[in-house]
Symmetry: C2
Subunit: 149 residues, 2 copies
DNA sequence: CAAATATTTGCAAACTAATTGCATTTATGA
DNA sequence: TCATAAATGCAATTAGTTTGCAAATATTTG
């Protein structure tokens, strides 16, 4: 949960990036700022976001391009999104293939990442994703008899 | 490109994992062993794999579950696959959002990964993916005027 | 080695996530 | 406040992947 202070004020974030402040954009940013972990578009709708799915997708793409949100793909085909302000520094994620929830792991400094991962020159880097998959605490308990793919 | 020796013989790999040796499974394994980088199902078909797409997807899922192949998701919604024998140790990938090609980066020892990424106990780990996105060498050249998303 | 059983494949249809075209609405800047 | 550019909603579409079921293939058993 990211505290909503001046660094994470939707209106301010949009202004800084030169994006127009529309109701949908502010609503999406607020939802992401209030989320405890990355969410999928379905989650946003389920949580009551009252706008067309196409608008949500377009908004998320815009915010991702401006680096206001991070996009985390999963092999199930669903992308997850989280706010990318300085109060939510880069970190790996854990995706539970059973309940399809995402958990944030401990933040990782970019220096340590750069120490281990080197990109050939001439490649222009844009984004990094580190994700683990498996079963979360709840779903790995023996009693739970759900999808274990 | 992985040399096709005894460690990477499709028939042998299937036997070790207790999977029946069917023509489609062998063909998919051969295609992956011969690939220089992770491929998507579309690539396999384009390269001449003569089997139903449903069978390719089912086969890849089976091989992934048995840890014979690694599955690498992308935010574009397409999954990529690579062989996971000992001649192809774990490594991060670079995905070019322009030409949609994947490049393998330098291998990373699991010890170093474990030094930086810790998973809470009670989570059962199954898979790790580290991927960078951006533009590859070719697509980042100024003359190329294609998708730069 | 042949028959019985279990597994896998191909085909068609279905499903999910995400994108797109276009008319309408909303935000911005003079 | 008005003119212009940008963003939204709706409906339709695309792309990737999965699923049910009958036919084919592999494995097991006698």
């Amino acid at each position: 949960m990211v505290p909503m202070d001046e660094q994470c004020d939707p209106t301010e974030l949009l202004r800084e990036k030169g994006l127009s402040r529309t109701a949908p954009r502010i609503a999406v940013l607020e939802a992401l700022i209030g989320a405890a972990a990355p969410v999928a578009v379905n989650d946003l709708v389920a949580e009551g976001l009252k706008m067309d799915r196409a608008t949500i997708y377009r908004t998320l793409n815009t915010l991702r391009d401006k680096r206001l949100v991070r996009e985390i793909p999963t092999a199930s085909g669903t992308n997850y999104y989280e706010i990318a302000c300085r109060h939510n520094p880069f970190h790996p994620h854990f995706y539970c293939t059973c309940c399809r929830s995402m958990t944030c792991l401990a933040p990782l400094s970019m220096e340590s990442v750069n120490r281990w991962i080197t990109l050939p020159e001439a490649f222009s880097f844009k984004n990094l994703v580190i994700s683990l998959t498996g079963l979360c605490e709840r779903c790995s308990r023996p009693c739970s008899s759900r999808r274990k793919e």
